[in-house]
Amino acid sequence: MTGGRALRGGVLLAVGACLVVPILAGLVTTGRAAFGVLPAIGAVDAGLDPWRALIAQPGFASSLRLTLVTGFAATALSVLLAAAAVAVLHRRVRAEWLAPFLAVPHAALAIGLAFLLAPSGWIARGLAPLLGWSVPPDVATVNDPSGVALILGLMAKEVPFLILMLLAALSQIPARTHIAAARALGYGPGVVWVSVILPQLWPLLRLPVRVVLAFSLSVVDVALILGPLNPPTLAVAVTRWFAAPDAALLLPASAGAILQAAVVAGGIAILWGIEQAAAAAGRLWLRRGGRGRTGEPMVALLAAMAAVLAALSVAALIVLAVWSLAFRWPWPAMLPQGWTLRFWMTPGDWWSAAGQTLAIGGTATIAALILAIAWLEGEDRGGHPRARWGEALIYLPLMLPQVAFLFGLNVELLRLGISPGFWAVVWGHVLFVFPYVMIALSDPWRRLDPGHLRSAAALGAGPMRRLVAIKLPLLLRPILIAAAVGFSVSVALYLPTLFLGGGRIATLTTEAVTLSSGADRRVLGVLATLQAVLPVLAFATAGLVPRLLHRNRLGMTGGIVA
């Protein structure tokens, strides 16, 4: 067991020194600025002035309210739609089909959705001849003051993520047996899901849902493209203050960043309360013993909404691809007036960005995967389940709003004399890729049948042999899916690339976000299409490799019907 202890210690040290300490240092620097101490701009007197300045910002209260409403609504609806979709479709849905939705970066999908939903968008253009619109109607269907488009845009990314998490969790329980038994007792197929399957899945889903909530409450890019802008959500407002030419705004911006962190922490606490209440209410409902046939239409409706959302997302991706081939595309034409390949034929614009994206994503994913496997193996050898604080360490980067620590982190790195560049960016990506890899891999890893390992041990296989010969091959599929998830996370990262690359590392995402502040949807279409293609290839590989390697071993496909 000493080997196990050394491994655990090493992994803990690596995670602590390389991931947690820098984040906390960044957070502390931001926190000090929030209370008036930022020597960089000559601010040395601690006090509450930054908070007063924050509250005095025009529209502050509206921003906060918008953040809470859109964050909670997007999370709640995403969970409902994902659960309903899996309930209705789980035997027919393949993880690979989710790849395009998971892979396409938030910003790109949001831009596609904006063009679809806008009063001059594809949907309105389809309606224009029927309704006789000579000009687009003057209604806010994107950037609407209540944030409906933002909620929709968040759901378009979160529902597929939660479906993937549900499918991964589903492979860990004997769902088919349970469903068959419950159906035989007369329960409706949707309600079986809600009452029998979902409660078993929830413990595996709890963290992904918290991550989705934290993300929804602090997202910047989607909120900029689809959300209300006058005032915007808190995260967008904070990012704007950080970027304002007036350096004095750095202090209230820091206070806003700390408030953003508090909002996320409070949101997770509320979620925990809802969980407890739902568990109590659920038990009550089960004891009453209804067969729940009346609930069926609700499940079907939610599943249908998920299907509409999927259709919108597909159309958003298609519209991006069409834009990349358009020359002129005026209202109210359904298709471009002129087509051109010129935006694809000038690889100067995208070739090096695609290469950087691939190099950074690949390196960060491999590093995160090695770290994750070492962590999980360390837990196995130590024979300990994961402590709560261990869990907290892993998810820290996902629960904290990026803007809360990236500003401080950048100041700290410069103070240490660490130059921004490729390796700083790779490291920054590992901060975010590692937690997602852990989320995707932990549960399949823990649910591995210990019988195989006991048999191997009985046959004389040591810990290393058991890892290499039993665990890794059996877990090949979840490992590859985890890698694909990690890679797509890396491809979509914007703020860490910008901050830690000193603005010099240009990935497909930084290029796309930069261009999204311009008028040219066509170059943007090229970059967004490429952004989607790289991770889709990663997911396709994750699906294909185990099927090829294990084509004669049905039991090794991880229980997910392929």
């Binding site: 003051p145 603005g503 930069t514």
Partner: protein, 394 residues
């Protein structure tokens, strides 16, 4: 051998300034200049890439375009570096800058220079005191930034839908009332949106001379009262009833191309012609200028105090002022941005190059652009943006 070559080189150089420039060229050779510039316009990006190719070919200076969504990103980076004690070897070599960002950097002592007068091509600029090339929003540039492209506030209309646009700012509320939802302006947090209000301020203010110095509470109240009155009449008939605004000028052009609005605005008179050429505006888009004239200024480049490749940055700044570069920049098929050079100082060959540039129906002639109104002191823009937010962001 080397000494004699040096002597020969020195002998061929006419003035000490030229010798200094040769030293700059020598030091610059092999440097990579990190030029931080807004990256939202593909044609500007392509132009910057071309500049890099040329400076590398001619002087061995590479240019790496650091694409910004907002100039303040680069300013903040320099501030952070100064805070971290990095007084040399900084990551920003050249910034496309003006207005409040320039004022911030100048006041904080974050700029290298004065350097403009040392650039050989500065001979083509009008550098007399108070000229457009030496003032940035009424703030003297003191040689700390070098001009590269001309900006002048203009409106753009879709002439197919709006053959006769309003020619006074005072007439805008009536036009909007007759055409509700058909015009907007970029968000006031954006440079362009604030400029729209500033143009209205210059036209509506009872005493425009008061705008040349920093606002006090008293002058701000007296000079802007008519502006807010005007805006209160205009806003309810803007696009989306004035509840939301496009993020910047480019997004506003996208709205025009999508048919959502009929009037837009630009700080580059050649922008509509360039955008038509690119397929990003209807062929019927045209420029119009308020009868009273419009605000004009110049875009500059500046070098941070701690730039790692200062000499290279100076070489690039000088190359931008080359008459050949400026003529190429003004070419509507390349960038279509007006030259900052003083035509009176150009040799005849260079003047001919400008005269030979292609024309386009949407491209105004210089004389169509009317009078250039002076920019108010930057304090006005900051306070107008704050006051606007206080009034209309709830």
């Amino acid at each position: 051998m080397r000494a004699s070559l040096l002597a020969l080189a020195l002998a061929t150089l006419a003035t000490p300034a030229a010798a200094d420039w040769q030293a700059t060229l020598d030091a610059a050779r092999g440097q990579t200049v990190y030029w931080n510039a807004w990256g939202g316009d593909a044609r500007t990006n392509a132009f910057i890439a071309w500049v890099g190719q040329e400076t590398e070919r001619r002087h061995g200076v590479r240019v790496e375009h650091v694409k910004l969504t907002d100039t303040a990103e680069a300013v903040n980076r320099v501030i952070a570096e100064k805070a971290a004690g990095r007084t040399s070897g900084g990551t920003v070599d050249l910034i496309w800058i003006n207005g409040p960002n320039f004022l911030t950097m100048k006041q904080a002592g974050l700029l290298h220079g004065p350097f403009v007068a040392d650039l050989p091509n500065a001979q083509y600029l009008d550098l007399s005191a108070g000229s457009a090339a030496t003032t940035d929003f009424t703030v003297p540039t003191d040689g700390l930034e070098s001009p590269w492209r001309l900006a002048k506030f203009v409106f753009v209309h879709d002439s197919a839908r709006v053959p006769e646009p309003p020619l006074q700012l005072a007439a805008f509320p009536d036009w909007a009332a007759a055409n509700p939802g058909r015009m907007t302006h970029p968000a006031v947090s954006n440079f362009m949106g604030a400029t729209f209000l500033k143009q209205a301020l210059v036209e509506l203010s009872p005493d425009p001379a008061a705008l040349q110095s920093a606002p006090t509470d008293a002058t701000f109240a007296s000079q802007t009262a008519a502006l807010w009155d005007w805006y209160d009449r205009l806003r309810p008939n803007l696009w989306r009833q004035g509840t939301t605004f496009p993020e910047n000028e480019s997004i506003q052009f996208q709205l025009m191309n999508d048919g959502e609005v009929d009037i837009a605005m630009a700080f580059d008179p050649a922008a509509p012609a360039a955008l038509i050429e690119q397929g990003l505006l209807p062929d019927s888009a045209r420029v119009f200028v308020p009868e009273a004239g419009s605000i004009g200024n110049i875009s500059f480049v500046a070098i941070p105090f701690n730039a790692a490749h200062r000499e290279g940055a100076e070489v690039v700044a000088n190359f931008l002022l080359d008459p050949e570069t400026q003529a190429r920049q003004q070419d509507i098929t390349v960038l279509g941005s007006f030259s900052v050079l003083d035509p009176a100082r150009l040799p005849e060959t260079a003047q001919a190059a400008f005269a030979a540039l292609p024309a386009a129906p949407a491209l105004p002639r210089l004389e169509d652009l009317g009078r250039t109104l002076p920019e108010p002191h930057p304090g006005w823009m900051t306070r107008i943006a704050e006051e606007w937010a206080r009034r209309y962001v709830k």
